[in-house]
Amino acid sequence: MLLQAAREKGNLAKIRRATVGGDTGQGGSMTGLRYESPPTLDAAVALLNNAKGLARVLAGGTDVIVQMETDLIEPELLVDIKKIPGLRTIVAENGGFRIGATVSGMEMVEHAALCATWPGVIDGVKLIGSIQVKGRATIAGNLCNGSPAADSVPPLAAAGAVARVIGPQGTREIAVAKIPAGPGKTHLGKGEIVESIFLPARAKHSGDAYERFTPRTEMDIAVVGVAVNLTLDTSGVVISARVVLGAVAPTILEPADCAKAIVGTRLEEAALEQLAAAASAACRPIDDKRGTREFRVTVAGVLARRVAQKAYDRARHIA
């Protein structure tokens, strides 16, 4: 896949250079690309809302630039939101954390309090590409790109994260889980920008975890991803749980039967078996060279129990 993409890209890079060098004709609308870095969110919203052709928010650019480079998209307008003050902060709020839209993955990974409170979300962030990619990539971008395999999305959804969205009609708060609409699609409207993502305060004895299965250990796309977020009572019984599956359907899935299988238990073998069966039953995966349908269905069950155990162990250790 890498080779083929690289070969195709060789040509594109040449086309791009020819265009940049002042050659006319080649490169089509790429010569018409406009870059704006507005000073406020309102100005960014207006630019997007008034755009006639394809417009894109530019955050870390790790999806947008790749998509431009491989000719998947030819935007007319890029609205860089990184110069907007106040978006690049992780702020403690009501016992939780508000993560601005331009905070990079590495900035999250280096934030000790965030890592201690939401380790499962950080599991997901750590899996986003290389150190280099995480130096730019944002979780808002990971979410808004709409990939069913985006690694930060299942743990954010399981955490009950809420996005603050600014648009032409004003501000609204929407659960992260409600934003994905299918491959490359979101439920955001024209001109809407995610300003920040809020991770709520945690109840005592809570833990979360995320794992994915990939053919390689690093730099690969999830074949299946599972996030579990749960809370225990003082005797170690699960009193609430959220289980979210990634990469096994056009959007993330939160099968009610998965959570039901473990609430009221201490993750005894029977509960874990039921959880695995519920996770496998919920999958509606694609069948491709990275994993057959049957394989993905099986792995979803295996991962679900493994991740639930990890979240459980964390919950017992986090006071």
């Binding site: 890498l2 993409a5 690289a6 791009r16 870059y35 870095s37 130096g135 730019r136 730099m219």
Partner: protein
């Protein structure tokens, strides 16, 4: 036609100015406008790490940064790694321990490895391997790369 952007930035401590189009990447500009060809292009899609540079102190792929985004930033490339004729310990250890063959991946690996050692002067082999997972090498099989990094780390710690 799109507007050309006037960009000012620092590269290896020196101020540079150039005009660029919005679709040009920082990598394009570093190589083709500033003629600093030590930074390599292997894929142009963030997969290989050959284009690794430091951008305001952060390790990034310069193929995934538009040149216009780099306005006002400070960039460090491989050309700034040695001090005059004196090689950086990483560079010397790569030479002495054969941490490179064709050398295409090497500038990116050296930049990434220096970023690792600045954060973690005593990485384990596993930590070094994970940190460098975004730097692909088709020649060495990585073993000598990792050995060179760990040897440089030991030398820099004075061990």
């Amino acid at each position: 036609m799109s507007r050309k952007h006037h960009i000012t930035l620092q590269v290896n401590g020196d101020e540079h100015e150039f005009l660029c189009e919005p679709q040009q990447t920082l990598l394009d500009v570093i190589r083709d406008e500033l003629m600093l060809t030590g930074t390599k292009e292997g894929c142009a899609t963030g997969d290989c790490g050959a284009c690794s540079v430091m951008l305001d102190g952060r390790l990034v792929c310069s193929c995934l940064v538009l040149a216009v985004e780099a306005e006002g930033t400070s960039v460090e490339t491989i050309e700034g790694m040695a001090s005059g004729d004196r090689l950086h310990p990483l560079q010397r250890n790569f030479l002495e321990l054969n941490g490179l063959q064709c050398g295409i991946c090497t500038p990116g690996i050296l930049i990434a490895a220096r970023a690792l050692l600045e954060k973690n002067p005593n990485p384990t082999e596993t930590e070094a391997r994970y940190w460098l997972a975004g730097n692909l090498c088709r020649c060495t099989g990585y073993d000598k790369v990792i050995r060179s990094v760990l040897a440089a780390a030991a030398e820099m710690r004075g061990a």
